[in-house]
Each structure stands twice: as C-alpha cells, then as structure tokens.
C-alpha cells in the first residue's frame, strides 16, 4: 500500500527531534484524524539552516514530515514556504488516496514555522531583546 520510499522514510526518518532555540516553530493538527506535527527551523542568511520535526500520526504522516524537512533544508525561505502537499506526496512516489490528508499536514507545518519566524522578525526590537534574555 505504501511505496518503498514511504517505508524508508517511516523506518528511518530524517531530522527527527526538537530545536530548543528554534527561530520559528510551526505546530499544526488535523482535527479530522487527530494527527499532530511540530516543525522547528533555524534560519541563517534567509535560508533554512536546520530543521527538525516531531509527528503523531500514521506511517504516511511520519514519512511526509521526514521528506518535507529534506526538501526545505538549505532552501531560501521564499522558496520553502511554497512547498505544497502535492510536491511532498510526489517526492515520496505518491501516497494512497485516503492518506493524502497527511501530506497536507507536512506542508502546513513548514509554512507555519516560516510564518512564525517572519512574525517574530516583525516584533518590536525591545520585545525581541527580552525574548533573548
């Protein structure tokens, strides 16, 4: 039912974990099926320098999270934010039809993390300094 690549990413997911001092954090959930995904990014020179994730969900949710982190690592934010669920699913060699909602989650989490980073950049300088302390 799953492609070989999905099984590879499920059994050996890339970039699992938490970045304690992340520049942006995205947490999304799928209320329909209860999946939860967290994405942490470090940004350097407008690019995604590091990324890690944690996911509660089925095999497809874990595999899409894993490959999504691979797809955005090192990419400029403007490009990474455009990552689509279809691109994630395609990169895995496709997903079973009923699993397509899982791939939405990975792209959503990436977008949420980048938007969180942008929001923090817009904050007043003082607040940002307080955050640092």
């Amino acid at each position: 039912m799953y492609s070989e690549l999905v099984m590879q990413h499920f059994s050996n997911p890339h970039n699992v974990g938490v970045i304690e001092d992340a520049d942006g954090v995205g947490k999304v959930g799928n209320p329909m099926c209860g999946d939860v995904m967290e994405m942490f990014i470090k940004v350097k020179d407008g690019r995604i320098d590091d990324v890690k994730f944690r996911t509660f969900g089925c095999g497809a949710a874990i595999a899409t999270s894993s490959i999504a982190t691979e797809m955005i690592k090192g990419k400029p934010l403007d490009e990474a934010v455009k990552l689509s669920n279809k691109a994630v699913a395609d990169a895995l060699g496709g997903l079973p039809a009923q699993k397509m909602h899982c791939s939405n989650l990975a792209a959503d989490a990436v977008r949420a993390a980048i938007e969180d980073y942008w929001d923090k950049q817009k904050k007043p300088a003082q607040e940002a300094r307080q955050d640092d302390e």
Binding site: S11, C33, F56, P96
Partner: protein, 390 residues
C-alpha cells in the same frame, strides 16, 4: 525480507488453510467436480459430499443438518439472516435490536435498512469491556421487535457476549435471535441449544478452511426471505450452485478446531496472557482493551498512548510480524474504531491500539519474539511524538 518467514499474529483477520483441509478439498476440483444438483454419478458424489459436510457441521452445532445453509462468506450469512427475517416479518413490525459493536456486515446492513427502508434499529450500549447487558436487551424489546442480532465474540477486542442469556430473553418474547459467531468458532461452544439462538453465522476462513464459504444456521420454523433466488438450492434458502470443495473444506476445518478446542483454548490462553502480561510490564502507558478474562483465548488488543497503531503495525511488519491496527485510519477512514468508541475509549487512545491474534501454529517463542521487539518500536515512535513528554 522475502526469505524470512512471517510471524503471523492476525488470525482474527484470516487463517491459513490447514493441510488436512486442503487434502480433503483437492478431489473436488478436478476429479469429483460434479454439480451437486446433477443426477449422474459425478453429481451424486458431489451431493453426497455436501450432505456429509452439512451433517458434520450440524453435529457440531447440535442441530439437524436441514438447519444448515451454506453461503459464500460470513458477510452473506449476516445479510441473509437480517434481511431475510426482517423483510419476511415486516407486517409484524419494523424494530430490530443490535449492539453498538457489531461487525460491519451487521451494522452497515442495519444502517442501510434504517436509512433507506424505514426500519427502526436500537443500538445497545456496551460497558467499558465491550459487554452487552442482557437487561438492556429486555428493556429495548417492543411490540414491533422482529429480530435481535448480537455478536457472539467481538472481532476487535475479543470480548465474549452473554449470548445464552440474551437468547433466553429473546425466546421468552418469541423474537428470532441471530448471532454472528465468526470469531467464536474453535474457541467457545457452538451448541445452538445451549446458546438459545435461532440464527448463527460462521465463516470458513477463520478456522483453517478457505475464504469464500460460510454457514448460516437457521432454526427449524424460522422463515427467511432468500436474498439470492434461482434454482432453489439449500432448501430454497440460498440459490446458487454449491461450492462443493469449499463446503467440504469448511466442514473439515470446523471438525478440526472443534476436536482440539479444549486443549488449544487452554494453550492459547497461556500464550495470550504471557503476551499481555509481558507488554503491560515492559511498556509504560499502555492499556488492555476488552475484558481481562472474558475474552477469546487468542485475542490481544492493547492501546499504546501517544502513538498511532499504524506506526506500530508497520514497525512490526518490518520485523516480519503480521499484526492488525485498531485505528481505522489505516484502513482508509479517519474515524477511530466504533467498537472502542462504544466502550468509552478516548479517540486519541483508540488510535494507538494494535490487535495481535494468536493461532494454532504460534508458540511461546513467537510471543517472546514480539516482546523482544515491540517495546523498542513503541519507544522509537514515542520519541518522535509531540504528545509524549517521556
């Protein structure tokens, strides 16, 4: 991967066909291939094989061979029992009583009759272990009740229902009582008189016979409107040329599991409790689903909090272990299991369940192999779960 033997722990889904069953079936493909309705010698041979199988099944169910109807599967038997009784008795009433944990062969049939044909269905609740209270059955009975259908043993959590007590109540009201006994064969008694049932469903592939053949027991005097009409086979209750080889296989399988039932049940209970005890002591935050004692000898169903059942299933599969996941998400719908929800299990917890169902070829080594790899699989998934704080 392909060379490794699969450690099969999904016997509630299906079983392998036992070599003795294969052997009994083989002549009926190319040698004794007659149509059981034909008058010539090949036909008579086939007819005789079907009637011998009918007598054998009747013997195990403690009923007359005439009360055995061979069908194509458990789902067909459930459909025939429910639709057959309901349509024929519609003038008497349109109320049917069932439980909220039935197999979809029963529940989806009843939902359709409710939605499209105006029948009224009462779905009885179950307790936290998945048990129906016979008193609830008594309370639900109305003047318009024409059928009660409650499963013998649940396919997901293995809870065995008080069928005999429910049957007594149904009988005292003169209401036909059907039970889906698909999971029960080989584990508990199928004596229809002890059970007080009027209709009972069996499926061959759950007891080492092939897929594609089932049984519906129909007590004498209970009338059915056939779903499938034609040449009047099976005493006008189920038309269609008999699946002779399949029927022979079903009877052989049923005789086999009935012969080893007491000894095998004791053996499986030992393995089951070793597996349950091992998992509960090795892994934190896990809960046994279903009744601790009043459950099928081969059923283990455990919820692992903070992770998805499908992940555990895939992890086990990579270790060559075939299990089943309790979260329906893996089977294509995003709803958690209706059985677990009816038992009051939190949807989040219900998603973390896996079912391991033992069978005749499983050994203590198999159980120990699961106990060796399962804790690591759960730990790995929890390490990547945002819901788990260690």
């Amino acid at each position: 991967m392909g060379e490794r033997k699969v450690l099969y722990l999904d016997h509630a889904a299906t079983t392998s066909v036992h070599p003795q069953v294969v052997e009994a079936m083989l002549p009926y493909f190319s040698e004794r291939y007659g149509n059981a309705s034909s008058l010539h010698s090949l036909g008579r041979e086939a007819h005789q094989a079907v009637e011998q199988a009918r007598a054998d099944v009747g013997g195990i169910l403690c009923c007359s061979p005439d009360e055995i109807v061979f069908t194509s599967c458990g789902t067909e038997s459930d459909n025939l029992a429910i639709r057959g009784v309901a349509w024929l008795n519609r003038r008497q009433g349109d109320h049917i009583i069932t439980s909220s944990i039935e197999h979809h062969a029963v529940s989806h049939t009843l939902e359709q009759m409710e939605r499209h044909f105006g029948f009224e269905v009462t779905y009885l609740p179950v307790d936290e272990y998945g048990q129906v209270d016979p008193a609830d059955v008594e309370r639900a009975i109305a003047d318009t009740t024409i059928l009660i259908s409650i499963m013998y043993a649940n396919n997901e959590v293995g809870t065995v229902e008080p069928i005999s007590d429910i049957g007594r109540i149904a009988r005292s009201h003169g209401i036909p009582f059907h039970t889906d006994a698909v999971q029960a064969a080989g584990a508990v008694s199928l004596d229809v008189n002890e059970l007080n049932v009027d209709l009972l469903t069996l499926s061959g592939h759950k007891f080492y016979a092939p897929k594609g053949v089932g049984v519906l027991y129909v007590r004498e005097g209970v009338e059915l409107l056939p779903s499938q009409t034609g040449g009047g086979h099976e005493n006008n209750r189920r038309s269609g040329t008999e699946n002779v080889a399949g029927i022979v296989g079903l009877a052989t399988g049923l005789k086999l599991v009935e012969a080893w039932r007491d000894e095998e049940s004791r053996r499986l209970v030992g393995l089951r409790d070793r597996l349950i005890g091992g998992v509960l002591s090795e892994v934190d935050h896990c809960i046994l689903m279903g009744h601790p004692e009043n459950r099928l000898p081969n059923n283990v169903n455990i919820a692992f909090e903070y992770v998805e059942g499908e992940g555990i299933l895939l992890g086990l599969d990579m270790e060559g272990i075939a299990a089943s996941s309790g979260s329906a998400c893996s089977t294509g719908s995003s709803e958690p299991s209706h059985v677990l929800l009816a038992m009051g299990v939190e949807p989040g917890v219900a998603r973390g369940t896996i079912r391991l169902t033992l069978g005749h070829e499983n050994t203590e080594e198999d159980v120990d192999r699961v106990l060796e790899v399962l804790p690591g699989i759960v730990e790995r998934l929890r390490a990547m779960s945002p819901l788990y704080e260690g």
